[in-house]
Amino acid sequence: MSFQAGPFLFATLAQTNAFAERLAPVLRSGDTVLLGGDIGAGKTAFARALIRSRLGPGEEVPSPTFPIVQIYETPQGDIWHCDLYRLTNPNQAVELGLSDAMDEAICLIEWPDRLGPLVPSNALTLEFVAAGDHHTLSLSGPGLWAERLAAVLSHA
């Protein structure tokens, strides 16, 4: 059984942020969320809203493109925000400590195709598509996410 939902249409950044804020409390250590989509599709903005909803609105969440990984410590465990665009080999993700982090932290991963075979089987995939003044978001993953996201999706 696999899980699939959407595409949901978000006309404003506020709507996207609201969805990120509903998803945030559902996540726990060991969860990996893959953020797919092209440049400008809204991946980083979504991750930023999600991280801020767990750490507070004042938390600075810079783009991870340059440092590849930004780690946020929270009392419930670390959050890893990654942009793997610049990686050329999945082994580099191991060097970064990402394979361990996927077991122990909440990992939000942009450009997850760079992971190759390292993509964890329980990962939730969010696919972003920019279209005109709005964008859409589709969700997919193994069946367990259907139950975990039921409350989140009932409002989407």
Binding site: I39, G40, G42, T44, A45, R48, L55, G56, G58, E59, E60, V61, P62, S63, T65, F66, P67, I68, V69, Q70, I71, Y72, E73, D78, R86, L87, T88, Q92, E95, L96, G97, A130, G132, D133
Partner: protein
């Protein structure tokens, strides 16, 4: 005052690896050597944006860098008074390798170890190049950073604003990708913009209507995406002129935002009544011709000296790290073997937007 210090500096927190030897003598710091090995040169076939991830490779490159830097400076380990290393922020593997490498040298040679913040290195460069007096205003604008700092002394940096999302250098790279220009995007967009019409595309000036010195460039990227798609939908593709016009329009939006926010930052800084006001800019984006022209004009208007250190010293290098290390050593701020790498390390731990990241400290 007549203290003489010779330090070697190591920098491996970003895509480049560097080593340098600097000397404090007669109250002035001189760069004896500065070696930078660019990852972008090593990885040119991949488009020049591939960072070195493996710690092992970093150590090998560091080894060669330090050897060359010391040979060029004509100094041996016996002439050194300390080892300075970037302890963060930056790419985790690089920062860790640099710190471990520096600890190794310090332990083996019995030398003092000094860890510095990469951003402090940039922020103190105007002292190195032009002996600028405190306080001065600094705009740090690069691939990974964008912030206004009032530099009060070598250890007191007041962050008065910065990007809340993408850094300008990153935005240049990404829009170059969007419109089919080469990497690195900064020079490519600058070149294309020369023959472009900056008024053709009406792009937003994010946060311009909000008070303060914070900036946002992420929305600009999305606006560029829409403008590009509209052109492609209308004409079936992007002509060279379209690329030029998109580049010029983007660059103008970026310059407008940086100009207005710099104006506000200058007002805050000038309210301190500095004796000889200076606005210094550092980072790769300082090389952009349009941004530079706009900021130079602004400084003329404000009666403030505009200072852009030579590109070799305002992009990533180790001379700035060693220079920052000298200031710390003179102030008695020497580290020991407990020095840790800090991939996330805000320069101003009191700035309101950074409270969350600063209070818990870094993990590594």
């Amino acid at each position: 005052m007549s203290r003489t210090l010779t330090l070697v500096g190591l920098e491996s927190s970003c895509d480049d690896t560097a080593a340098a030897v600097v000397r404090l003598a007669d109250g002035r710091v001189r760069v004896l050597s500065s070696v930078v090995v660019g990852q972008s040169a090593l990885h040119a076939p991949f488009g020049g944006v591939v960072p070195e991830i493996a710690a092992r490779a970093h150590v090998e490159i560091l080894d060669h860098c330090i050897e060359r830097a010391m040979a060029e400076a004509g100094v041996g380990f016996a002439n050194l008074d300390g080892v300075v290393v970037t302890a963060g922020p930056g790419l985790i593997g690089g920062v860790l390798s640099g710190v471990m490498f520096a600890k190794g040298i310090a332990a083996a040679r019995g030398l003092p170890l000094i860890g510095v913040n990469h951003l402090a290195g940039h922020a103190l460069t105007p002292r190195l190049t032009d002996d600028v007096g405190f306080p001065y205003l600094m705009l740090l604008v690069s691939g990974g950073h964008c912030q206004f700092l009032i530099v009060h002394d070598h250890d007191h940096f007041e962050r008065i604003g910065g990007t809340i999302d993408d850094a300008p250098g990153e935005a240049f790279d990404k829009i170059a990708r969007l419109i089919g220009l080469s990497q690195p995007g900064g020079p490519a967009v600058d070149r294309a913009a020369l023959s472009g019409d900056a008024k053709r595309f009406d792009l937003p000036r994010p946060l311009l209507d909000r008070p303060g010195c914070d900036m946002s460039f992420s929305g600009l990227k999305t606006a560029m995406l829409r403008a590009r798609d509209a052109v492609i939908a209308a004409n079936g593709g992007l002509s060279q002129q379209d690329q030029a016009d998109l580049s010029a329009s983007f660059q103008e939006a970026m310059a407008d935002v940086l100009e207005e926010k710099s104006r506000r930052a200058l007002d805050l800084y000038l309210a301190l009544s500095p004796a000889e006001p200076v606005f210094a800019i550092a980072g790769g984006v300082a090389a952009n011709s349009r941004i530079r022209a706009v900021l130079e004009q602004l400084c003329r208007e404000k009666g403030t000296r505009f200072l852009a250190p030579p590109l070799a010293l305002c992009t990533d290098n180790a001379a700035m790290i060693a220079n920052a290390g000298i200031a710390r050593m003179v102030a008695g701020q020497v580290d020991d073997m407990t020095l840790s790498a800090r991939p996330r390390w805000p320069l101003d731990q009191t700035a309101p937007a950074q409270l969350g990241s600063g209070k818990k400290g870094a993990k590594a």
